[in-house]
């Protein structure tokens, strides 16, 4: 079996599956259960200065799919609501009991040097393997000048990172907020401040739904609501892009990335790793199913690696980064055409109506003698957009087949149709 062990920003772990700083890593009881279940590491739920934060009730709400499958969760829980002393004591004991697991401590204190100077030695004394700076929490804490309020200002990110590197010898991971316009700016700031790694994404500002009877958004606290942090599988595409942006940015190239955002399966994890992550963090999937999910994640990832001939994670980490580029470098002459496997087709007509109403009228509906319909692609009209394949309920029924058009590679930079094209 493939070797899943990692050394991420100098931190060793038996596998790349870490639990993110969140309710599942709030206290020793949970963390021990997680380690027993096989997690490679945890990021202890964010510590702050005493007095500890106070939380409200209720705290979560969900965005559901058609069959109540949870697409995403929104939460308005703050950082730990337990005292610093209790947390530090528990961290010390857990690290002692589980020396082979990565134990990172998430931190959030006011944006003043004294605060960081005070807390960092206390954390280092626990024996923890590293710290993660919570610059991402989008609810509650920013109102107090912390969390995303720091993460959204590159100068603060750089400054606090530097303080941490100054007053602490542990690896420093900077957790980035996605609630900004360009993730690279914050990553560059962390890099300048001396960060050993970045982790992303933190949660996204959100309201999941509105109770139309009570006319209040969810989650509710009494008759009120506030925006919370969105996570879960729905945010994965956003997170993947942000990781890739940092991975391929010349200014941050080589900066270790810990991928976070909607990871619930080994495949999700492998995708983050392929786009440059050296480790991944999981939260929502564990909150929905318990810590046991790590078992299938580890098993699936190592079997897939075996099937691909990857002996360890570094052999494929970042392998998809080089193929991620700017639009202007894409081959404008490349074309695919949809092909429907008539044998696999169940005749639902979704491809036809999707293409007919909203795309290129490239799928004909042919009436059979028995009143049912057959669907055929009109090759000349198909632009290869993938929509039919996306709406088809049967996997592999519609294949996007590359068209051998004999045209050479041509990107927009060199396309004569581009008024600003590069003349060779």
């Amino acid at each position: 079996m493939a070797d899943l062990s990692i050394v991420f920003a100098g931190i060793k772990a038996p596998n790349p599956f870490w639990l993110a700083s969140a309710p599942p890593t709030d206290k020793a009881y949970n963390v021990v259960r997680a380690f027993e279940a096989g997690w490679g590491g945890v990021v202890w739920k964010t510590l702050g200065e005493d007095p500890a934060a106070v939380n409200v009730s209720s705290r979560y709400s969900a965005h559901y799919g058609a069959n109540r499958e949870v697409l995403g969760i929104n939460n308005i829980e703050l950082i730990t609501d337990r005292s610093l002393e209790i947390n530090l004591r528990e961290i010390t004991q857990v690290k002692k009991d589980w020396p082979d697991r990565a134990l990172i401590v998430s931190l959030m204190v006011p944006c003043v040097e004294e605060s960081w100077k005070h807390i960092l030695p206390l954390v280092e004394a626990t024996g923890a393997d590293g710290i993660e700076l919570n610059f991402g929490c989008p609810h509650g804490m920013p109102e107090r000048g912390m969390g995303a309020a720091v993460g959204q200002v590159p100068e603060y990110v750089e400054q606090v990172t530097r303080w941490c590197k100054t007053y602490c010898s542990l690896p420093v991971i900077v957790k980035l907020t996605p609630n900004i316009t360009d993730i690279r700016v914050a990553a560059r700031a962390a890099h300048r401040g001396g960060a050993d790694a970045v982790s992303l994404i933190n949660t996204i500002n959100s309201i999941t739904s509105v109770d139309l009877e009570r006319m209040v958004a969810l989650p509710t606290v009494g008759n009120q609501s506030t925006h919370g942090g969105y996570c879960g599988s729905a945010v994965k595409p956003i997170a993947l892009n942000m990781c890739a942006e940092i991975a391929r940015d010349p200014q941050t190239q080589g900066l270790p990335i810990c991928g976070i955002g909607g990871i619930g399966s080994w495949r999700d994890a492998a995708e983050f790793i392929a786009l440059g992550s050296g480790a991944v963090q999981v939260c929502t999937a564990a909150m929905l199913h318990g810590f046991r999910i790590v078992e299938e994640m580890k098993d699936g990832l190592s079997r897939w690696m075996d099937s691909q001939g990857y002996a360890n994670l570094s052999q494929f980490s970042g392998r998809a980064v080089g193929n991620t580029t700017d639009w202007k470098y894409l081959d404008i002459n490349y074309q695919v055409i949809a092909k429907i496997d008539q044998h696999a087709c169940i005749g639902c007509g979704r491809c036809h109506i999707a293409c007919e109403d909203t795309s290129h009228q490239a799928i004909a509906s042919l009436k059979n003698p028995d009143g049912t319909h057959a669907y055929e692609v009109i090759d000349e009209e198909c632009v290869g957009c993938n929509l039919c394949q996306i709406t088809c309920p049967v996997a592999d029924c519609i294949e996007m087949v590359p068209l051998e058009n004999g045209k050479p590679f041509l990107d927009w930079n060199h396309d004569p149709r581009n008024p600003f094209h590069v003349v060779l």
């Binding site: 069959n67 109540r68 696999a344 005749g347 979704r350 036809h352 049967v394």
Partner: protein, 455 residues
Amino acid sequence: MIKTLNHLPHPRDNAAVLAGHFTDLAPPLNARQAELEASRCLYCYDAPCVNACPSEIDIPSFIRNIQQENVQGAAQKILSANILGGSCARVCPTEILCQQACVRNNAHECAPVLIGQLQRYAVDHAQFSEHPFQRAAATGKRIAVVGAGPAGLSCAHRSAMHGHEVVIFEAREKAGGLNEYGIAKYKLVDDYAQQELDFLLGIGGIEIRHGQKLGDNLSLSELHQQFDAVFLGLGLAASKQLGLADEDAPGLLAATDYIRELRQADDLTQLPLADRCIVLGAGNTAIDMAVQMARLGARDVNLVYRRGLDEMGATHHEQDIAKANQVRLLTWAQPEQVLLDANGQVRGMRFARTHMLDGRLQPTGETFELAADGIFKAIGQAFDSGALADPLARELKRQGDRIAVDEHLRTSIPGVYAGGDCTSLDQDLTVQAVQHGKRAAEAINAQLMLNVEAA
């Protein structure tokens, strides 16, 4: 009660136990189940299920409404195409209609969406505060509908909606037709036919006159004179005969007669029970009869058919119901002689074994006897020609013994329309009858309004 079965004993079980045997065969979905099932629908375009529905219900749309917690919208969508959508949801052989056509019935998928059950869920839970369809401005036109079965009721409702006044002439005490008198009790429970009737009449403009029988105290000539249009939804009132001696002996009865008694009985314990019984036939009525007799407590129920299982009119689903109720399906045997005891009461039947020879059903020469206390004929219904006895009615063009109609449900006599089982069109199904009634109402309306414009 049924005189010809008076000599038989009564069920052994008490009323509560028997009632338990006649509750919903397929229990309704609860909200959670409906949500789960609705989410399985792929919302097909040009959906095969709609294509397979005789009453053209927009199935993907109503299921999407259920999924979006708009149960009333779902029900309205169903009822706008099929005003008897509630009973059709219960009695339709969905396994050969919408659910057979469902793309999820494909071998690569798992199982069809339970369309019938979802339809029932929507109609049962719609809770309309007022009738969901409004009548158009009164036209002053009057329409006579003969027969308050599914075809007649459907025609009446759609006609009332168009602003016409409708009078329904019904021979029996209750309206509803086969829904009231002919469907297995466990398929349509809790007096549903009458509940649905009340709902349907909620539109207004429909009067039902009971005890009015065409060919008896009613004539087509009169109706044709007195009304602007006539719709005949007569059904098939006569049961086919075996053509054997002693066919009227005590212990031998048409299955439809027994089912009617069963459905109307206030006390199931007082019904006659044929402990050993034979049901002759191969359609859904034969299955209904056999299964109900088994559920009343009969120990030995044989359903005998002269051909093979594949030729049975009853669907595989129905056959499975029979088997699940310990009904024995005997094929390739045709009735040869009614066997009587010393009192002249049925004691059994002799059958001739049959086989196919040169493409024809032939006796093999071998016979066997089955002991039975009761024999029930479910070999099909026939048109009761006595209904068409008056001079005008006799002019109606017939196809076989049934009334010939064109695709607009027009008979050969202008102004007279017909639909449902009494016509030669389509399959004999409740849902088909509803569609006939609806389409006839549209044709009548188009014709009457054309005349108004011309005038």
